[in-house]
Assembly symmetry: D3
């Protein structure tokens, strides 16, 4: 069924705040069903220590790679990870990715804005199946941490440990106290 989609290079943009099981499932699905090769884009790479982007791009890069090594090891040689900073113009964003990256012909994303921008530039867009999204989005996890509720099911134990070493929960809670 997806045979005709083979021999494709896809991009998978995300912010990975933090990386979680949902990302792993979506990346595996993309490489099983849509693309031969995947460029995983760590978006908003310039941002960190904010409520929306608590982790730096480098921290996300490290965690994401470890997550993929542990949970998607056999896919690893088909994946590149590239941090990409935001630009101030949505309309230019896809062209900017085309400039920075090797040629790609498809995108895998569940994000409405990403989908809209790639369709506007003429790309095929694939929506990965949800993985308990109500519980395991980055937004959910960050909210759960600030409120002190359970979130550790969304992330493998080894990543939880690394997040703890980075002081992720503490950082988020302090950021939630605001900037004045």
């Amino acid at each position: 069924m997806f045979g005709c989609m083979k021999l494709k290079r896809g991009v998978f943009p995300g912010r990975f705040q933090p990386p979680h099981y949902g990302h792993v499932k979506a990346i595996k699905w993309a490489l099983d069903k849509v693309a031969d090769e995947l460029i995983v884009i760590i978006g908003s790479a310039q941002d960190s220590f904010s409520l929306k982007n608590p982790l730096t791009a480098g921290e996300r890069f490290t965690l994401l790679r470890k997550l993929l090594v542990n949970e998607a090891g056999s896919y690893l040689h088909r994946i590149s990870i590239v941090p990409v900073m935001d630009i101030n113009s949505n309309k230019q964003w896809v062209r900017y990715l085309e400039m920075l990256l090797p040629p790609f012909n498809t995108v895998i994303s569940g994000n409405p804005l990403v989908q809209l921008l790639f369709e506007d530039s003429g790309y095929e867009v694939y929506t990965p199946p949800m993985f308990s999204r109500s519980k395991c989005s980055g937004t959910y996890i960050r909210k759960a941490i600030i409120e002190g509720s359970q979130w550790e099911d969304c992330v493998p134990e080894t990543i939880v440990e690394d997040l703890n070493k980075m002081g992720f929960a503490e950082r988020l809670k302090r950021l939630s106290r605001g900037d004045e």
Copy 2:
């Protein structure tokens, strides 16, 4: 009464998301009562595909010019349209317009921030009479589209058709689903 204001070049800044009857009325009023010549500034020209600025500057330029051709044709030779990108400093904004544009000596705007900034730089500011503003502001139209309520009265039929061809309503609704 407005005789002394003649022989003036005015600026009329707006975001035109989308252009509507209120803009036409204000531009005609400005050219009838305040200015001999008008530079219509399409502000936030770098932004698009966002809830506040769904259309690109080029789309707004095209729609606005068509709107003026149809609804204010006899004024057209006294109007220039110039897209202008935001800068990150309100205090510098008027000076930045002075640098980019031919000399002007007045501004026509109902926007409180625009009025404040031009007055701070020593300009005369004119507030155009409202045109059913409660219903026909850009903010109202964008909200009506997202909520599925009536908005087409604010815009001539031919512009509604062009907006439909651009997928304006669809774009806005998808943007309203958020960025993650």
Copy 3:
């Protein structure tokens, strides 16, 4: 007790919208207890004429210096004031200050984000004792002005007069009417 902290140069970042008694108390405390010398950073120096930053950096510089001359004159020779523009990356902010300023070894701030960023870069952070903070923060003062309630107790009379000459209350009220 604080003897070992002597011979230190500290930084005291703030936005000073507007400068108030709380700033004076904190600066005196910092120079009494923590640092020999203090660089007072006027942050978000590029911003003005916004609800969060109504005053320009230059207006804040002028008011703050007058406030310190009047209320902390004997400390003045140990204080430098430096306006600093924001950058788009929290993680880089402390390194950026290190690049712009003479070497410093401590920070005095009650702001959770500032504290987090300096600790992340390995600095000692001191929290100054609150001065009726519930009433005399910049946020409180700006809110009180917009709502027409009392705020003049937070600021010496001479600074209130200067703020009135600058049209501070009028500016804030007009900004609160929004940007369209």
Copy 4:
């Protein structure tokens, strides 16, 4: 011969430091032979008071419009003038113009970089016939002014007068003394 090119909107990018007869000839040629409508782009609009760009975008806008009124009056209703600031990426420049401007389908330019970038984005590029280019380029005029040699033949008398009122020659000579 050019019938099939009719019904086209062209862009004509330049820096106009200063506007001269060569620009007039090229614009007339473009509207005679290539395009129904022309958007004249004043490039590097952010720059001024430099050896390469002594005039501000606003000064160039004013001079260029006057030049066209005087020398190409019958073409005026088919011309728009738009100042455009540089971006830091040549590869994105054409996409950036597409975002800012109404749709266009051709470009008229003798500049090798402009030609290359538009061709790279799939546009037809037309090279206007040279108008004594060896003598009447912006580069030639600026060099002649600094060296005190003759340049006034390249520009109509009325524009020479305006340049003199702006202190163009004086400005250029002072800029040539360098920055430090």
Copy 5:
């Protein structure tokens, strides 16, 4: 001898205009002698279609990966390629890389500025042995192309073919005709 340097992650910054044998030799040397893992940074990623940076970051990424696949296949699993845009502050550059990338502890570079900046930030810097650098630097290759002299020895045949398909020589020659 290099045993103590093992278990290290290094960065190898370059502009790769174009990728050539010198890069392959240096990368192999770095992975043989200095680092367990290497992040190859494609610098000045925002720039292209200029004399110094004719190729886009995406073109360089594609060519470099192909070059490494062909000439350093057994090293490939130890290499990541990341395009990085310039910032406007040399002093911040190393900190900016630390923010964007997984933790690294060494740098391999023959570039004097890169060496200086990393040493200033406390890093060990390794200079790779030169590979006929007088002939096979990017600067040499670009100059040779513009002057029409021989350069193809510096690059494997398959990369020469790809450069020809991209119109590399033609692009460079046209860029050398200048921007006005």
Copy 6:
């Protein structure tokens, strides 16, 4: 003779690469003859580790303050030092300084571009008398260091020592070897 110029606040912009006797003389002259108070602007504050700007703003701030303490101690209470980053528009530069700094009404500078920009904004400009400028400009000192000739006469011994501790000569020489 200069009585009428008293009660003035002046700005003295420079790059201070490095600070030298010429700066001291000019600052003293400015405070003797022109201004009651002086804001010394450390320009191009974002730049460092380049041939034109080898020192960071912080290093220049530190050296300049020490130079003034040693050589102009009795003037110190009338001097503020403020690092200021470049913006990309000469025309806006004076307005940008007006936004960042307390009100000033004069400028002291021997730099042709600075003089031109302030005059264009309607300021009085004072040219300080030269202090053996042929030998003691920043440009001369940096050139002398790279060429290994004598420069130490331009700077007090204690500043030479500090420059040596910072590795100033070494840094400049390495930067002169170029960026590839």
